[in-house]
Subunit: 254 residues, 8 copies
């Protein structure tokens, strides 16, 4: 629920078209304990944090996801479901006209985002990191950002990266996605002077330990200016990147 | 490249035997291999990344640190030494008038930074996280930022945090420092809409495993908008925060 | 076998209606080694610990579970099977009229528990923690407690938790279930003055390492008054909570 | 600050003997940011949680500990410093007449606790677990509980434990302290029907990994009714035990 | 190939009935490199170690297992295949009359072992540890030992264990199998004065980490006289136990 | 750069509009971003490193693998796909006449390698290590080396290894593949004076932790002359071995 | 207290020279709770387990060790203190004439053991494993066994080991001590047919992780017949070895 | 003992100047068990492996090191002691004229190596990796190789590395030393076509976990041609590098 919707609702309360109990529920103060699936939508999140809630499907039963989507579809114009398996994603697309399923990113987006600004680039080390890079890309698009995608430029073939240096330097924030040894953020952060958000991926085998090697590599980077998110967390990187470019909208710091 | 070699090179530029482009490359390219201590100062870093190099003293011999400082003191107006033990820090202060040692942060700063802008707040969970919070604070001051310090507001006493909410909301970027379970960034990120840089600390005992518990907690936060740096890496958090507030200086994104 | 049943059995031995061998087996001193499935029911547990045995199905073959249930169904009026897969649970319900299968909690309960007292609340951080929260809830109900369920109030949206504070403060013991960074018990324990039993869950991905991040977070909580059980161990938390509220029935300590 | 002290202070404000600014500081709403050591005493904790704050000395500088103690000594009648090294503890005892240092438990207690009730027993597996057992014992005494200490009854010599069974069964809550394989809580919990708080210790060597083996053993106990605290956390176990026996003071649950 | 068979073969070489090349292959000096599946049977093992080779099926392709069995079936009167999935085990039983598949132990045995001596007992903590206990039992039977099986006597119900104490004390070597916290060997070793071989199992969930908790518990036992084998390694425990009781057959030590 | 773009560029070189240096850079610099699957073939790799790129199929979608193979099949005479599942491998063999699928090694090779030199031996500890040994063998054959395969000579039966000592000593570089405790490289390196490349495998169970035990064993070898690659990385070992025997082709070192 | 001493004491009780209370204390039924240092000597251990208690000094305060030794010196003719630092060991030797301190093994032995039998050999991989090998050797001597010491025969130089093969084969039980990759037990167990007790040591650096690499290597040995004790646990290995050779004294198994 | 010395000794045996017992000892077939410090010099190593033994001082007592050095000084013309603390190194230099102590590398070398060939370069990422780089350099010099040292060229300042590319490409084998994220080998291996031996160092803090991050990074490199040694193992890297350049001396492979 955004500000306009809230004002309109309150106006309807004032004029008696909506009674306070119903309004309270729609505003989202009270959890949907009665839903029978144990969730509690946070309708006020957009007001508080700037973006509506994102639902992580993984770990929830199908029925819980369906019920949450049904609730949100009637009250939130723009939302996102992440880590959603393809079969359920396809099924929900059939039920909701405004839903789009992104199979590689494994996300379901609802609603038409505003025309996006630019300033964020997503860089990936290898083709196998693609799902995570696209999770970031879909998230940003849904938040009104248009990110440039620079893929498969890992450090094993440095010339591929070097040929994209002008693109890297044009961005205001960089999301760098890499598995295996996770060295790409270190190299890139040494070449630019903007924040680098490093996303380790679970790409690799053996002693990569499902992304641990990339995660540790990024946390211990010898280049300054890097911050790190969880393994495979393309969504989190995108969300943070969006906040970073937004800091400027707040006017000059005193 | 030592001073004589530099002077000779510049003389050759003056007399036209070497053109400026070639000279510039040679100035920044060859390491001080002749120093006998195996380091290679990166004089071009300021041009490339926006700030001069920071030297991490830990892991280097005293003699190496002394020699590096001697080199930098004659060529770099503003630099920083981190993770420097007190005895050596005090000794270097006696040798260099422009040096200041910060005992809790364990840093040595050289030179007078410009008057700082504001916009960054450093929040710490407990009194024992102070060294890391101050490492961030000293770094920011040296980079021309004046950070607000909000200390000892951990989640065990939520009212302490709540009473500082207006201060938190005034910042454009938040650095949140916490050890033990590292829950503070999760709580704060749910209350603001700016980037939160989480710094896990090694504060704790037993199964905190020298900061692992806080690190994992922060990486797995259920709040979006958080990025994480290495355990006890106050410097890295400050550096990244500075880059984030600087993105605005680059003009509006297209 | 409870006290009355034991007395009645011994009376039957005295009067010769039951011979000692049969009685001994029913009392449960000797293991059912002859069962061919290698288990040894602990029929005396209720006398000793206050509650009959609970059977964990996971790791046992289907045939072993069936045989154990068959044994208990004829000798124990009230028992519980945990971590039981749905197919076998449904099948056992068809064989035993007194059995009820709880699909989200993955438990099978036998028998009608006494009308429950109140005093325990189960709090969960997110919808995906539901299975563990319900495992605790089913266990408590079966032990004669009626627990209040407060779901999806994780720290990312603190206002959801705050709106339930009166409910939290009414309880005598709190079970707090959370995955990911596991921060919820820390926040709650700072707001109440009753024991908090923290249950880490395997909800999360990447560096949550199947619940390790939540477990470490809870063990290292900066709030006092928290004790922790194994990852996903809703049953254990419920059992311990029941013991805690029962300490009062023992009369004032000397 | 307890309730009476608060009322008295407010009366003094009303009558003008104390001005509001001074009162506010004493009430503890505002952190002592001006202290120069970065701490923020939580004077309201007693009102909120039932006991005043406990200060963990480990990780804090000597100067910070001294300053915190100085503040608390003038405003809190009863408090505790934990994990305090002997030299500083002895020194503080010389400065404050009401301070007592407990060298094995490594704690400093201030003030005369009320005469204690009974109902908690502390059991330790071996002589080397003594420091942790005494940390629990000092904490409980300071909270107005008188705990029975049953030491060196580890599972390697079961008859030692068995000879103390009547003592174990008399308690309403048991704190069980063990290092190495941490098996003692499992054995005890199978013999009693009260809550068992298991405290793993770092006693051991090699693959005990500083208490990890005991911690994992306790978390995976096959006996129900056990909850666990951090490695070597005798304080936390005592605090939780005190809350458990206090649940009875709240009257019968509805 | 045992000693008699070897002597007979060499006699046949001497008399010309077998040519040296064929004999060499049967003796097993040269690996079956030509088999196309890359294995190298160790036909001399019985001479050297006292028992023929045991083949671990896990990690080998079905075709490799089939070929190895085919080779051994023609040259080795008595052998064992471990960790063999049921489908392949059943199929091999149909091909070889002398093969028996043990479904819970997941082993395939070939040949009729000699009548066994006694002196080893296998003790298990819970019903879910059965597969590992039976792996040990099948191995021992195949090696000519008749082991007593004492199941489901875990420490949570100490009276079950105590009632079997005479059986435990009759054995010359004890194999103790336990998952979860793995406390059973500690308790038993304190009650007997014979060697205890502890076998951790992967029974458990959450922080049992697939048997790590039991393994660490056993390695850090406070009782002396315990040695440990790999997680779920019932075969290894049986093999070692057999060697231990055999030391006596070597006559009195000098 | 696709075929048309390449032809157009070469035309521009021919007509003098683009000079050769610029063209060379453009040929190798721009990724196939237009492919829609996010990869970036490194056509210059053969020039730079001596061998064309190898594609790791694991972690890539089927569609991405198909598209990459299609691209390479038209432009690279000799390439390799590793960690490719059998179904996709078989399917690609039907589409491309020059493709061969190696089912145990799980590799797809394209093109006829030159007649190979000799000098590398691949030694494996057990039959279950075969897949990794063959991955190395296929890689070497494809790089123009003919490796000798010495299988199933693990340290449990030292005589098997000893009988192959002459073969081991004939090699110029040894690749030693072992799972479980990974002791074979230590023993072999003590017997030869050539480089030993140790390849830990994930063969084992329980505390082998998917190859961690073998990896640690090899890294901590008490024999000098061993270097290690990732768990199950037969390809990497072969690649490095090929570089080692090639160092000689560079002529005598100065 | 051994059997004779017990009989003599009981005779004294019968004749009234010793009153029951004093006798009870000396028999050791009741713990020395009054000692003020929290230990509980197990005077009955020799009767129950065959050997008197061994005291591990590590983790105990100096004062506790002194008091325990004082108690035992007056009541136990033969005992051992392990992991005792040199300064305290030397000091105790001055106080007690019957005490001997073994500086490399870090043990203090009291009393004259009986003339030992033979049958156990202790093998070590390297000179740095000596402390652990000697801890085993001192323990065995004190238990009445005379062990042969075969040192510095690690697998890097196999001929050293081979030249000692006859000595290895003469033993009835082998204790094999090794750090780093811990490969020695695997090689030896393949060459003998007696039980091998493997003792991992913390010798090594880097990824040996204080003995973890050796421990995992031994647990995952491809040779059967190996059982493992804790890292650096020479005492435990010796104790178990003694039990193994003693199984023969129990007469033939039925 | 090298070949000439052996021949000379045998000649002396033939002519009766040396008796066989003395010769045997000097040849080194029998271990110096009588030395009282438990070591067993491997005098035949040079004949077998090409270089004499290297003694690792760490983990050995001072007295053991002294005695080993005394033995070797009289029988081996050229040897090396690694990981030797400065005080003992300096003291040994005073006793032996031919000894040289290298304080940063922490090594003691004996004897004058032959004039070295070239072909190996040692590259380090940072100044703090110097000790490990020098350990490799001293080892190589002692083995008759003259290595080029290229220091402080980590990936954070890629231009430093790029300016040394011609030096890197001149080498036949590269040793690359790096701590923290360990990314340097990945970048270098992508630029050259010779073997890269990666040496992780323990340089770093927090989640570098004493070199684990660098180790995992190197094992998971996306560049082929890299093999890895233990953390901080400069010696092992040098030894392996020497074997690699020596493969050429063996003549062309057949």
């Amino acid at each position: 629920m955004n500000r306009e919707a809230l004002l309109q609702l309150l106006e309807e309360v004032r004029t008696g078209r909506v009674n306070p109990e119903e309004a309270a529920e729609r505003v989202g103060l009270y959890p949907f304990a009665e839903s029978g699936e144990g969730f509690c939508l946070d309708h006020q999140r957009e007001l508080r944090r700037g973006f509506p809630e994102v639902v992580m499907a993984e770990g929830k039963t199908d029925r819980a996801v369906e019920e949450i989507v049904a609730r949100m579809a009637t009250s939130v114009p723009l939302f996102l479901v992440s880590r959603l398996k393809e079969s359920l994603g396809r099924q929900l697309c059939e039920s909701y006209a405004q839903a789009v399923y992104h199979p590689v990113a494994r996300m379901l987006s609802f609603g038409e985002p505003p025309v996006g600004s630019e300033g964020i680039a997503i860089v990936s080390a290898g083709c196998a990191d693609r799902a995570v890079a696209l999770e970031a890309e879909v998230t940003l698009r849904w938040m009104g950002e248009r990110a440039e995608l620079i893929e498969d430029v890992g450090v094993a073939g440095l010339h591929r990266l070097m040929s994209r240096l002008p693109d890297l330097r044009r961005a205001r924030v960089l999301i760098v996605v890499a598995g295996m040894e996770g060295a790409l953020p270190s190299v890139i952060a040494g070449l630019v002077n903007v924040p680098v958000i490093a996303v380790p991926t679970s790409v690799g085998y053996g002693s990569s330990f499902q992304g641990l090697s990339a995660l540790l590599g990024m946390l211990n980077s010898c280049s300054a200016g890097i911050t790190v998110v969880n393994i495979d967390n393309g969504f989190g990187a995108a969300y943070a990147a969006r906040l970073m470019v937004r800091t400027c909208d707040r006017g000059p710091a005193s």
